[in-house]
Amino acid sequence: MATRLAQLVPAAQARGLTRAFAGRHVLDGLDLRIEPGEFVALLGRSGSGKSTLIRVLAGLDREAEGAVTTADTVAIAFQEPRLIPWKRVLDNVALGLRGPGARQRAEAALTEVGLAGHAGDWPLTLSGGEAQRASLARALVREPGLLLLDEPFSALDALTRISVHRLVLDLWERHGPGVLLVTHDVDEALLLADRVLVLDGGRVAYETPVGLDRPRHRDHPDLAPLRAGLLRRLGVVNPEETV
């Protein structure tokens, strides 16, 4: 079965990935493997190379050295939704879709993110949360084997963020892509991911699985030690230790 075969191929794999800007190694021999359907969150301080890694995996940065393989279809949701302002919401989602029924698939994707009523709207009339959901629809309608999320929640207000978190989990459970979520929010990583990585010194310096069932609550006692470990790795002194 095709799906069985696909299970053997990782959603993304990088070996010895190195990328330097003006002599400074942002990625330095990084190894990474994301299993099919696995939700991985990547934490790191600003400038740690998170976005560079996303860009390499998305094929937007071809200057990196090392071996990279990804699923056939890679989709990305950027920090800013990056909708094409002169295309209506539906046309944004359908952009570049091939084959018969492209339009119907785009409509279905919009319905899935709760934007069916906005299909004919101009992107500039959407709220921040709506625009980001349209951006997710545009990524997921391609049925990607690897979905890259480059801090797509960071510009949203707290309430909108909670609802978009739920939406992402929903979509992920239904479509099952491998996900790499870049974030600087430790709680967000712990709520969403199967595995949380910390990028430091151009490599994955630390990783921890999160074995809890979803939906998770941020006050769950099992998350506290994971959070403490991650914060320590990120160079933030754990408040519980300073008391």
Binding site: P85, P123, R142
Partner: protein, 265 residues
């Protein structure tokens, strides 16, 4: 108190703002008519408004004006079409590839420094005094604003949208069609309005130099016979045609850039 003075009705407040704005031009027109009627303003210097109006009527009736307009409009249409095709075409070549930019942009930047109307003597030597030098002058005037604005528009398209196209695996043709050209369109339309303005100016200058038909010919002929009324009619027609094309472009802008309206509302 200021509130009382605001409440006391001024004679103007009964009028709509549009009507209020018409008052002073109408007063000037009346003054002009009065000066002509009393002989203060000689017919040789400037014909009276009433004379201009009746002359316009006569010129339309005997077919002189429609024919002149037709000839001039045809010149503008041909010159504009040639200039627009060249300006936009060269902007696409320069905007869409580095090679094209190196080939096209330096000579365009040098040529645009030349004073357009200073070229007329050369054009007369090269092309004679027929239609060709007029069309060339018009086309040149039209080409540069369109070239400059379209080129800048193409290069100004948000690179982050280019990355979206790349991730969505758009072909180069799709990238140009869906991202680059629509992104450059607002600038192109600005260039269009500028080039139409220059186009009409170039037509007027070209027709003044020499013409055996068209609005310029009608005006030049009138000068020979001291017919200031005909000259004024010709100027007013130039005016009206310029305003007409400008409003056509504005209409085009409103239709083509509806996606921006969300930003304005």
């Amino acid at each position: 108190m200021s509130s009382t003075s605001a409440r006391s009705p001024s004679p103007l407040s009964a009028l709509s703002p549009m009507a209020a704005r018409l008052l002073s031009p109408l007063a000037l027109l009346a003054l002009w008519q009065a000066a002509s009627a009393t002989g203060l303003l000689s017919e040789r210097l400037l014909a009276a408004p009433a004379t201009v109006a009746s002359t316009a009527y006569d010129l339309v009736k005997d077919g002189t004006l429609p024919q002149a307009i037709e000839v001039s409009l045809q010149r503008v249409a041909i010159g504009f079409a040639v200039g627009a095709a060249a300006g936009i075409g060269l902007a696409l070549i320069a905007g869409l590839s580095r090679l094209g930019e190196h080939a096209v942009d330096p000579p365009m930047q040098m040529l645009r420094a030349l004073p357009l109307f200073g070229l007329i003597p050369l054009f007369i030597l090269w092309f004679g005094i027929g239609e060709t030098p007029k069309i060339v002058l018009l086309a040149l005037g039209v080409a540069f604003p369109l070239y400059l604005n379209t080129f800048a528009g193409i290069r100004g398209v948000d690179g982050r949208l280019g990355e979206v196209a790349e991730v969505l695996r758009l072909s180069r043709t799709e990238l140009i069609r869906h991202i680059v050209l629509p992104g450059a369109l607002p600038s192109l339309l600005v260039g269009l309005r500028q080039s139409l303005g220059i186009g009409w100016l170039a037509l007027i200058v070209a027709e003044q130099v020499n013409a055996d038909a068209g609005l310029g010919h009608m005006i030049n002929d009138a000068r020979e016979f001291l017919r200031t009324d005909v000259i004024v009619v010709g100027l007013l027609v130039y005016c009206a045609l310029g305003l007409l094309t400008d409003s056509l472009v504005r209409l085009l802008e409103r239709r083509a850039l509806t996606w921006r309206r969300g930003l304005l509302n």
